[in-house]
Amino acid sequence: MDIQDQDATARWEALGSRDPRSRGTAMEHISQEVMQRVESIGPIPATVPSPVATAGHPTSDLNDILARLLMLSKRCPFDDVRERCVWLLQNVQDFGVRIPRPLGNGPSRFIPEKEILQVSKVDPRTQSIFEDAFAALGRLDNISLVMGFHPQYLESFLRTQHYLLQMDGPLSLHYRHYIGIMAAARHQCSYLVNLHVNDFLQVGGDSKWLNGLDGAPQKLQALGELNKILAHRPWLLTKAHIEHLLKAEEHSWSLAELIHAVVLLTHYHSLASFTFGCGITPEIHSDGGHTFRPPSLSQYCVCDIANGNGHGHLEERRGNHQVSEVSGEVEVLMERMKQLQECRDEEEASQEEMATRFEREKTESMLVATAEDEECVPSRDVSRHFEDPSYGYKDFSRRGEHVPTFRVQDYSWEDHGYSLVNRLYPDVGQLLDEKFQMAYNLTYNTMAMHKDVDTTMLRRAIWNYIHCMFGIRYDDYDYGEINQLLDRSFKVYIKTMVCSPEKTTKRMYESFWRQFQHSEKVHVNLLLMEARMQAELLYALRAITRYMT
């Protein structure tokens, strides 16, 4: 049985090979096995009341395989595999076995499926990135698909993530995934938690740990506090926290391990933001990504699986309607940018004015209400991976005690953070640096339907606004610009996504920048994610530096 399992895994992995022949043979093996099983079970009588009741070993096993085939039929970057999977599923259905169909519409709840790149129709560069990702992980996750809007960034993102999780590093593999789980659970991001629970078990992690942080080694438990602070109020991090982790007798962390852990934590905090911000749906082959129930009449028919059509017509129509209403929005924004550009040279804001503008922006950022309505449903009980669930984002400026403003000029990523990370965890500094730069400088010089627009200002405003929410100040930035460029609904979205991503709703996503394209909204999400990661990293690294000096 064991060997059989291994063979099976090997076969699934062979589907990621770049060699079409070996993919073909692997597919052949799989289809043989599936058909064999299907024949042995025979057609499931249609009268069986609920599939769950009959889910004996062979059936549930088969169902897993079918779900996986379904995933491949949609997500595999190789067309031959996709075609074969569709064909195979249809064959299975012809036998009278119920086949699964995907729930939801594509990788994101917010973006209609047809807007997102189809794995079948991408340019060669994206194709090769997808293929690499598929070969490395045996899957192409929804996050990558959505990021596929921006292939340059995706490449850098995947390289960094691969290095953090798979390559040389001070932490063992299962620790890395567990830290990922801890970080994602902090934001109740069941998508990421599920993803990494699987990976965690695959690299030989102890399933006892998954029962909660109490089940994990004390060393990881000690990290819980850091995780908590970092996720919600990183400005409270002091060198005492670091010292506590580094000097804990036999459960202590080494500096290199700590850096690795910190990078992982911040990576997953911000990735959770992205996941919620783009409404990433569960993977097709995991729980909640597919169903065996026959579709009800109101939904689309099974044959759509083959065509890859979702239902997005209704929303689309609604969207069009809105567009006509607010068509002036983009132009207004562009006009403002132009004005700011011009009048900067003329009008001189006094220094006091600048300082108060930052304070005002800071205070205003907290007045922006985050949650409008709560509709998130954590499918898995993720709360057991962290403690103290009541601990959440508190506004930086509202609290009683005064925390001094973090000045970027005194501790910046480029000068200080990079050196520290690269010293203790070689190459990662470089990778992160590239990723930050990529996110910050990414532009196509377009805004909605306008071309050749310099968006530097807008991007900088977004980046600095996020840092502002974390109390990080750029001396050389006029925070008045933020007010000009970012309207209220956009601020609400940013604030929610960065501070309590689990409360992001589709309505928020739709209500900002209504005329912009989805790719541009994803771009904004990337900015938010990286800015947040850098903000957290800066606080963590500063605390470590202070500990070291």
Partner: protein, 785 residues
Amino acid sequence: MEKMSRVTTALGGSAISGRTMFCHLDAPANAISVCRDATQVVVAGRNIFKIYGLEEEQFVEKLNLRVGRKPSLNFSCADVMWHQMEENLLATAATNGAVVTWNLGKPSRNKQDQLFTEHKRTVNKVCFHPTEVYMLLSGSQDGYMKCFDLRKKESVSTFSGQSESVRDVQFSMKDYFTFAASFENGNVQLWDIRRPDRYERMFTAHTGPVFCCDWHPDDRGWLATGGRDKMVKVWDMTTNRAKEIYCVQTIASVARVKWRPERKWHLATCSMMVDHNIYVWDVRRPFIPFATFEEHKDVTTGIVWRHQHDPYFLLSGSKDSTLYQHMFKDASRPVDRANPEGLCFGLFGDLAFAAKESLISGDSNRKPYLGGDRRYPIFFFKKPDLTEQFAHVSSALSVFESSLESKRMDWFVKTALLYLLGGKPFAELCDHNAKVAKELNRPQVSTTWTMLRLMFSDPANLSTPGPNNISKLGNLPLMNSFSMKEMGTESRLDRSKGESRQDNIHLEPGNSLINSNNDENEETEGSEGQAEYMFGDAELDDDDLYSMEHEIQAVEEQEYTLPQEAFPLRHEIMDNPSVPEHLQQDKADSPHASGNEAEVMCLTPIESLSLIAISQPLFSPHLPSRFFCPVVREMLSHYAEQGDVQMAVSVLIVLGDRIRKEIDDLTQEHWYMSYIDLLQRFELWNVSNEVIKLSTCSAITCLNQTSTTLHVNCSNCKRPMSNRGWICDRCHQCASVCAVCHHVVKGLFVWCQGCSHGGHLEHVMNWLKSNSHCPAGCGHLCEYT
């Protein structure tokens, strides 16, 4: 103004005096600059902007330029520069992007003169032209450099670095129109001040940001750059392409670099992160700093030589809110502390040793320094100051070849191979090991084994040599004096050994007697049935050993032991899959080790009983093992400290439970680790594995379970097998098929490294008996070692 009256001139160089001193600032400093006559220094930072006077004994605060009720961001300085021509003129770069000039001659409290807010981002650097009074250059994060004429309200020209942030700008000391700019993307650009449209030349100096650059004060073509990649590079700009002529590797990113005045090859650096020291390097000796200043407690942010013609005073400001004046004579010289001796082992045990010539020749006097050293050019000849050079150490290198036999570690290897650590009765193990040691000319070790046997196997055996031995035991820790004296007793012991063995054989039929005695012996643990079985087993072994003693020993024994090691090894591999669960348990013993343990424990009493039957009346059975333990413990520690960890571990294993509880686990683990490490260095994998197996420390036994992953390439498509299992996931063939029987090999797989065909060990062995070509039919003449 009063302070201006105190003008000193550069001539003579004797005008400046002082000592190493410091003062506390109120806030961290970002940059410092010194006025031309070297009497005052300005310190600028986010919350500080002050001028200090440099007196003989101390710093004196002269002026606070940070005035006004609401300090604006214009006072938050990233950089500051004092004009080198005009004493009243200063410029600062503000973090908010403003460039501010200050005129100290102003009568009002606020000395601010001009304010330029043309830069959009933080200004990283300002630089006055070295000779032109009104020309100021700035470099900013927004990627632009601007040249200001201080008589006008705005910049006269703007230089675009193509959107990359500018980290440093420096006017050339010699070329009137040239300035250098360093960038965040690793480039350095050279500009002509008259041509703002395009840079003259550009080259990539570092990977990652170039934080600083500095022109050589004398040599017109030299530019030093320092970057985040922890390097300082010196470029020769006189040639067509900038040529890197020196490179110094530091331990942290380089924040500032400053050439030392009057010293052609020296430059000072400080770092941006982690490292707080200031280093002065001689670029020709990039591996060790020429001098180090270690006073600061936090990163040094600004360094400046106090006077442009005086190499002995260095000023520095730091994040730790102090301002220091360092005297060069007070610097620490790493080279003095460095060890000029070097020692290295060659591949074959040769030893190379380099040391000061004086030490080796026995000549204690240093050779007088010859003034005419051609490597030191003219400027030295004015003041040939010995302290200004690297200490000259000429070393002699001697190589000691090890003679083929004597110095080698042969004894170690042989001992490791020949020692028996388990699988036999305790006494025999001791005897065997004693013999091995003796043959290898190690009488002391041999004797130790013999004595261990006497101490632990049997109290009764001490009847004759007993008192003798005990008196010797007192001496045990002093092993050095021990070996000679023991030679005599040893033969005697040997004889008694022989006797005991004979006794043993004689008693063979008396099984029942032994069994009944079993109950009396406190160490007994096995059941009677087991004991019987074991006894038979042991007798066989005993016979083997005994008969062998009559033959030629050394060679025979080697042949004997090798297969012995091979068998358990193979066995172990098959066992392994089930082992890990065991390991988790507290019992910690691998099934094998505990099996052996049981064997030994059952056997010892039995064997000894035969002797007890003779001499039991003389000694109470309680005395021996407990009694000797402290001594043995000391002995083991002694061996371990002497470097013979082999002995310590071997004894530990052979004695097993008798001694284990006496020695704390950490020490044991330490010994085991050292021994295993040694064994692996000698590539004695089998022995090391056996030791791991026999050890009882859980930390050691689990070594066998770690890094057991073997990466294999598919024999078919030559690609790595990415997963477990026998099928290659790329070409979908069974990867490890036996070339003889065409079945998948799921055990030991042997293959030819030439053609990568192979199969079951025994199949291939059989095949090769009759053939020399590859069984797969590829035509390769396979070779197996």
